[in-house]
């Protein structure tokens, strides 16, 4: 597979064109916004938390396929999870994005293997300037969860 095919996997283009959970939440939730000033990517998230669990979330934003697909996949990955699980997932995602090239990213012992669709984003590592695109949604989520923690 060429580097470009690895970057633009079908699942990424699918999430880009059909983002999951696009919109805003009614009812109690925390809200956070993030952007990459150098490229103009924007992302905002609403997260509803009950009893230490993400019960619902919604995203809005505009930007490249990587930033928006990463956000959409994140929605799929975090809704219904406990905050501890989400924190673990975030760490695993960040680890995946920083694994050196050449290491086997699909090794079952590798963090990538539990990430589901998100694994498709590992192609981004070969394009260092694009890693911040994939990270944007996750950084915004972390902001939201920090707010929630402060408020509780």
């Amino acid at each position: 597979m060429s580097q470009l095919d690895e970057l633009y996997r079908e699942v990424i283009l699918d999430h880009y064109r059909n983002p999951r959970k696009r919109g805003t939440l009614n009812g109690a939730h925390v809200h956070a916004e993030g952007n990459n000033p150098s490229c103009g990517d924007e992302f905002s998230i609403d997260v509803a938390i009950e009893d230490g669990k993400i019960t619902d979330a919604a995203m809005q934003g505009q930007g490249c396929s990587i930033s928006q697909a990463s956000g959409s996949m994140m929605m799929d990955a975090i809704i219904g999870k406990s905050l501890a699980e989400v924190s673990d997932l975030t760490t695993k995602f960040k680890t995946m994005m920083t694994i050196e090239e050449g290491e086997n990213p699909v090794d079952p012992d590798r963090p990538g293997s539990v990430l589901g669709d998100l694994e498709a984003l590992q192609g981004v590592r070969k394009f260092p300037v694009r890693i911040k695109c994939a990270d944007l949604a996750w950084a915004t989520l972390s902001d939201a969860l920090e707010q929630a923690e402060k408020a509780s």
């Binding site: 633009y8 490229c39 924007e42 490249c64 990587i66």
Partner: protein
Amino acid sequence: MTDLRSLRSDFPILSRSINGHPLVYLDSAATTQKPVAVLDAMEAYYRTSNANVHRGAHTLAAEATELYEGARSKVARFIGADPAQTVFTRGTTTAINHIAYGWGLDRLKQGDRILVTIAEHHANIVPWQIIARHTGAELVYLELTDDYTVDIGELESVIDDRIKIVSFSGMSNVTGALGPIDVLSQAARSVDALVVLDAAQLVPHQPVDVNQIDVDFLAFSSHKMLGPTGIGAMWGKPERLEEMEPTEGGGEMINIVERHTSTWAPVPHKFEAGTPPIAEAVGFGAAVDYLDAIGMDVIAAHERDLTTYALEKLSEIPDLRVYGPKDATKRGGAVSFELADIHAHDIATILDQDGIAVRAGHHCARPLMKYLGVPATARASFYLYNVPEEVDALAEGLLKARQIFGLS
């Protein structure tokens, strides 16, 4: 088409390959590549004449000063100006900041207005926002017509005594549209407003003579016209430069320093605090020599032909939308576009795999992006060293992007 192909060998970087492909550099609106003449001039300065300027009685200091002031003369002559009114700055951004702080801060007050256009680069917006905040003045915008040029029809309703400064770009770094210099400066004069021309994209690409236009200040950057980064120029009318306060204090810019007060050196030194970028000035001088030898009219014609060709090739690509004038006489060679639902960053990444360098993003013009209703655009921009085959490569790369995104 004016064939400047033989010049390509003057630019070492153009023989590089990127991701296994020959470099196709279409990002000159961001920064230009440098000819050997510029690199050599800078190296020769460091190798043989390096010293601080305007001080010291030794031979090297005199040589360095001569080279630095010689560069000022070259840069001034390039725009038909007097070196005594040509200030070296860090670039266009610094120049506009000098003007905003040095001229605007003491003169603007509550109720006054600064007029810009929605097509401005952040460098011609943010300094005015800051000055507006300090003084209580208000920043107001002219918008665009359907062909992306400044809507001068709005002028009549906007221009009144409240307008104290009119600051606008001579050529948009996003749409490529030429600014209506004469119309805006006349309108400004009718209410005695200061006229500032952001010429960062204009001076590198078209002949400019400060005697042929009626502006108070004009700013441009070396690195966008074959010279090094870190230096640019601010030209001003003598009376404006005289009345303007320095915004940086330090060495070089003073006449006499007492314990509590100082007097300023004459213009242009009043605005050049600290040791200046001497090697960069030398490189800047070499760059204008290089451009002069070719002729700015020749360069402008070459770019017009290339832009016409590019607009034609791009119009053949399905779902591609150009944000800028279609008429090559109304514009320069910065061509911004959007392709189907493929984000500009994705386009840039895909093109880069074939060695093609374009800019993607908001181009430091976020208010314009919002106005156009696009999150970002891709931009190809041309200079004297570009050739039609590079436009062909761009078009092929864009068709490839369509394929990767599943659009046949």
